[in-house]
């Protein structure tokens, strides 16, 4: 017996829309099985995982803090993926944005005033874009596979940050801890509503980025260019759109947004550079992008869902003593089911060599040669 994927002649518009919800439901079912195997009551676990972390206002602020980088990065990645360009290295671009943006508060702490934050954000975007330009250059110059180069550069960025905070940028008064000095007051991204919770301007940047990119993709010639080159490169060339230019555009855009996410996270939520500044936002954002159907507005919703998996992971760890790696498991299952649902929208499964799958056709198929023999 063999399993084959057969392309469907028509795609169901209804199921294209439902697919993220079905994927989410399947994740919940699989999650329930997982919790049951771990020996906890699934209902109880789900309440702790999905409901309790967002039952109070300050917790919604925490959700926004986690969602902001996911949305910012995923919005940029969605443009790459629409153009059929595969930037997997957002995590590295996030880190380089954080490093570039931290130049001012770490090396020039005496520089203060209202200009500091805008400059830091700008440098953060430059840093992310710079780091993303490396795989873009390699792809356009040497036709390297951007999936590999951008991914490998993530590890370079992580180790570079690690070296910086243990070496040249280490806080001399930090008792040898691998971290930079605490950022000065004017280098901290302000909170939106300090009385209600910790959420900072990063979440606003994320929403603005999502709306702007949505406008670009759906209403502007540039978005059209991205979609044409992504779906039919030869027609794109006929239209006069340059593929190499598009590689740079998408990498620089997504790099800049990842960099902005990086500096916002460091300046807003953390307040200094540490060896590890991201719980894998750059990778989780890939899931966010696909769960949001590569649509910036869908990505906002998907970003909130994935942010919840982080908070829930922390919650079950403290309440039930289950490792917070459970968050990664949920994220992985979600991506698996989303991609699975999407595949089944475009293809149907056919089992070959099993008469049960196609009772009518198979039976007649078998009858035909017999009839011939009978003559």
């Amino acid at each position: 017996m063999r399993i084959e994927l057969v392309k469907r002649p028509q795609r169901s518009a209804l199921f294209s829309m439902l697919s993220p919800f079905i994927a989410f439901a399947l994740t919940i079912i699989a999650g329930a099985i997982m919790f049951a195997l771990l020996g906890v009551n699934p209902l109880n676990a789900f309440e702790i995982y999905f409901v309790e972390p967002i039952s109070q206002v300050w917790q919604l602020h925490e959700l926004a803090i986690k969602a902001a980088p996911l949305i910012l990065i995923a919005v940029g990645l969605s443009v790459c993926y629409k153009a059929n360009i595969w930037n997997i290295g957002a995590e590295g671009q996030f880190i380089f944005g954080a490093i570039f943006g931290s130049i001012i508060p770490v090396l020039f702490p005496q520089f203060e005033g209202p200009l500091v934050i805008p400059l830091m954000l700008l440098l953060g975007m430059v840093g992310g874009a710079f780091y993303a330009s490396i795989p873009a250059l390699l792809k356009t110059r040497f036709s390297t596979n951007e999936i590999l180069t951008s991914l490998m550069l993530v590890y370079v960025a992580q180790l570079f940050l690690d070296w910086l905070v243990r070496g040249p940028w280490r806080d001399p008064q930090g008792h040898g801890f691998p971290q930079t000095i605490q950022f000065g007051e004017s280098a901290v991204l302000p909170e939106l509503m300090p009385d209600a919770g910790r959420a900072n301007w990063g979440f606003v940047f994320a929403l603005v980025a999502a709306v702007l990119v949505w406008l670009m993709m759906s209403r502007m010639l540039k978005g059209f260019e991205v979609r044409v080159l992504g779906s039919s490169p030869r027609a794109g060339r006929f239209a006069g759109f340059g593929f190499n230019r598009m590689v740079f555009f998408t990498f620089l855009l997504s790099g800049a947004l990842s960099g902005l996410a990086g500096i916002s996270e460091v300046s807003g939520a953390i307040g200094q550079l540490q060896p590890v500044i991201s719980p894998g936002y750059g990778f989780t954002a890939i899931i966010v992008a696909f769960l949001g159907r590569l649509n910036p507005l869908g990505i906002v919703a998907a970003g909130l869902v994935l942010a919840l998996t982080y908070l829930g992971g922390e919650a079950v760890q403290s309440a039930l003593g289950i490792s917070d790696k459970v968050a990664r498991v949920f994220q992985g299952m979600l991506l698996f089911f989303v991609l699975g649902c999407d595949t089944l929208i475009h293809y149907r499964i056919r089992l070959i060599g099993m008469a049960l799958t196609k009772p009518n056709g198979a039976a007649q198929l078998e009858a035909a040669p017999k009839l011939e023999e009978a003559r």
Partner: protein, 525 residues
């Protein structure tokens, strides 16, 4: 069903189709189609683009599922749920578009589709024997990339025959062949018929149908409008059945004073090295197209026409800016957008994926080639697309070219080939370009639509534009052109004025006679 159709009421019928219906959304592509194919006959399936021929054939070959209706194979009812089922029943198909890997040999390509694990050498031997016995010379060990289109078609046919089908479906088989290659194909088909095999022959070339087909079924708007014996019909009466009205003959007004008209497109010593191992180098091509004239370029497929089109359109830039000149200015260093802005328009050979993005709407496909030239009309401040203006322009083209479709603004891939071609040509004509370059303007397009497109191209020229048409269809070029050049192996012969050109002269040049020596060769002959 009216008459009770018993399973064995007509033993001579290999395939019977009763009331086959396929509905796409609101469009009934096939509406209660009845069709009988007898054993040992060549049966023509005629119809305009969008008449439902492809849909019907796809249902017979199992790639589409009918909404209702029955299919009887050898008298017993069958459901053809996949191409695999069709093959097992004994239905083989030769597609209009070949699906061959250029970097593999003919035998390897055949082995891939047979998928039965027999060694390549066995398959090669079988293929060689079969090709020899059917008079389809083919070396199974040759690389597909080195073969001509006619030879590639032979691979497809042999691949089909190796599965010993009872019914062979051929979709527009001669559209890529030279007249001589087509004659060879007809001999093979007649041979197959004499062995009792049945052939369903889809074509829009009515003379061919009259010549080799025993019966014909004519479709119009998804319905069967008649069965006939094509030998008793004239090409005109067949066309009338297909279209439902008289097909207007293409009128070509004499082009006066061309010699003194300004040259709008000039190609000077254009050469190009092959970009891939299978590409044809262009060798020192010279050509002038003046305002008001249509120049045709004939040639067997794969002699550099694609490379030539890419170079002239600007999808590939030239080293020497002067090798392509548009309206008297050097354009060789300009991109396709730059050349469009100088007044040139282009229609490539491949409709889906080159001339149009398949998964995009027609209005978006309008923007594809005109976002720069109509920047003011279609793109507003800040790069925002004016969707309303683009949509109404698309509707204008759809009306002007009589594009038939199932939705107001469907995806390009949802249109039949001919209707999409009408849209793509109309998209450029709508701009009233001063230089128009078209590769295969009516490839796979039916008589009515083809006449429409050709007439439009002639009128564009007579209104003062320069039109260059690259085509493998000699009838078309003789209908359209004021002069015909021939491309062979990357070289272009000097265009012969239409008054001096004959099928024989052009045919000799297509076969590779020295440019300029064709007349001499004719005298010797």
């Amino acid at each position: 069903m009216g008459g009770t159709v018993s399973a064995n009421h007509d033993r001579a019928n290999l395939l019977e189709v009763r009331g086959l219906t396929k509905i796409f959304g609101t469009l009934t592509a096939c509406d209660h189609i009845d069709l009988n194919i007898a054993k040992g006959e060549i049966h023509a399936l005629l119809g305009e683009n969008g008449a439902g021929k492809s849909t019907l054939v796809k249902m017979l070959f199992g790639s589409l599922e009918p909404n209702s209706g029955e299919i009887f194979w050898d008298g017993s009812p069958v459901k053809i749920t996949s191409p695999g089922v069709a093959k097992k029943l004994g239905i083989g198909m030769v597609f209009q578009h070949f699906s061959l890997f250029e970097a593999l040999t003919a035998a390897e390509n055949i082995a891939l589709s047979l998928n039965d694990g027999s060694p390549i050498s066995t398959i090669a031997a079988k293929a060689r024997a079969l090709s020899f016995s059917y008079g389809l010379p083919l070396d199974p060990d040759s690389l597909v990339g080195d073969l001509s289109v006619g030879e590639r078609q032979r691979i497809e046919i042999i691949r089909c025959l190796l599965q010993t089908p009872q019914l062979i479906i051929l979709d527009e088989p001669t559209s890529v062949l030279t007249p001589q290659e087509a004659d060879k194909l007809f001999e093979t088909l007649e041979r197959l018929r004499s062995e009792g095999k049945s052939i369903l022959y889809i074509s829009h070339r009515l003379e061919e149908v009259k010549r080799i087909c025993d019966r014909a079924t004519v479709l119009r708007h998804g319905k069967v409008v008649g069965h006939c014996n094509p030998r008793e019909e004239t090409a005109a009466s067949l066309a009338r059945m297909m279209v439902g009205s008289e097909v207007k003959a293409v009128v070509r007004a004499p082009a006066d004073g061309i010699e003194t008209a300004p040259a709008l497109l000039e190609i000077r010593s254009l050469s190009r090295k092959p970009a891939t191992p299978f590409a044809i180098p262009l060798k020192n091509i010279n050509l002038t197209v003046r305002a008001g004239e249509v120049i045709g370029i004939a040639g067997v497929a794969g002699n550099g026409q694609g490379e030539f089109f890419e170079s002239v359109s600007g999808e590939v830039l030239q080293q020497d800016a002067g090798s392509v000149r548009i309206r008297g200015k050097d354009a060789g260093g300009l991109s396709i957008t730059g050349r469009r802005l100088m007044g040139a328009a282009f229609v490539p050979e491949e409709r889906l994926g080159h001339g149009a993005a398949p998964r995009m709407k027609l209005s978006e496909n309008l923007l594809l080639s005109r976002h720069a030239t109509d920047g003011k009309a279609f793109v507003g401040s800040g790069g925002m697309v004016k969707n309303g203006a683009v949509y109404s322009a698309a509707q204008r083209i759809i009306t002007a070219m009589d594009v038939r479709k199932s939705a107001p603004d469907p995806e390009a891939a949802a249109l039949s080939g001919g209707n999409l071609q009408k849209f793509i040509v109309g998209r450029e004509l709508d701009r009233k370009p001063s230089v128009m370059i078209v590769n295969q303007p009516t490839w796979g397009v039916d008589a009515g639509a083809a006449a429409h497109i050709r007439q439009a191209l002639i009128e564009l020229a007579r209104s003062g534009s320069a039109v260059l048409v690259i085509s493998q269809d000699l009838d078309e070029l003789f209908e359209l052109s004021d002069a015909i050049g021939v491309m062979h192996n990357g070289e272009l012969s000097k265009p012969l004025p239409i008054a001096e050109a004959t099928f024989e002269k052009i045919g000799l040049l297509m076969g590779g006679a020295e440019p300029g020596h064709a007349e001499h060769a004719m005298e010797v002959a």
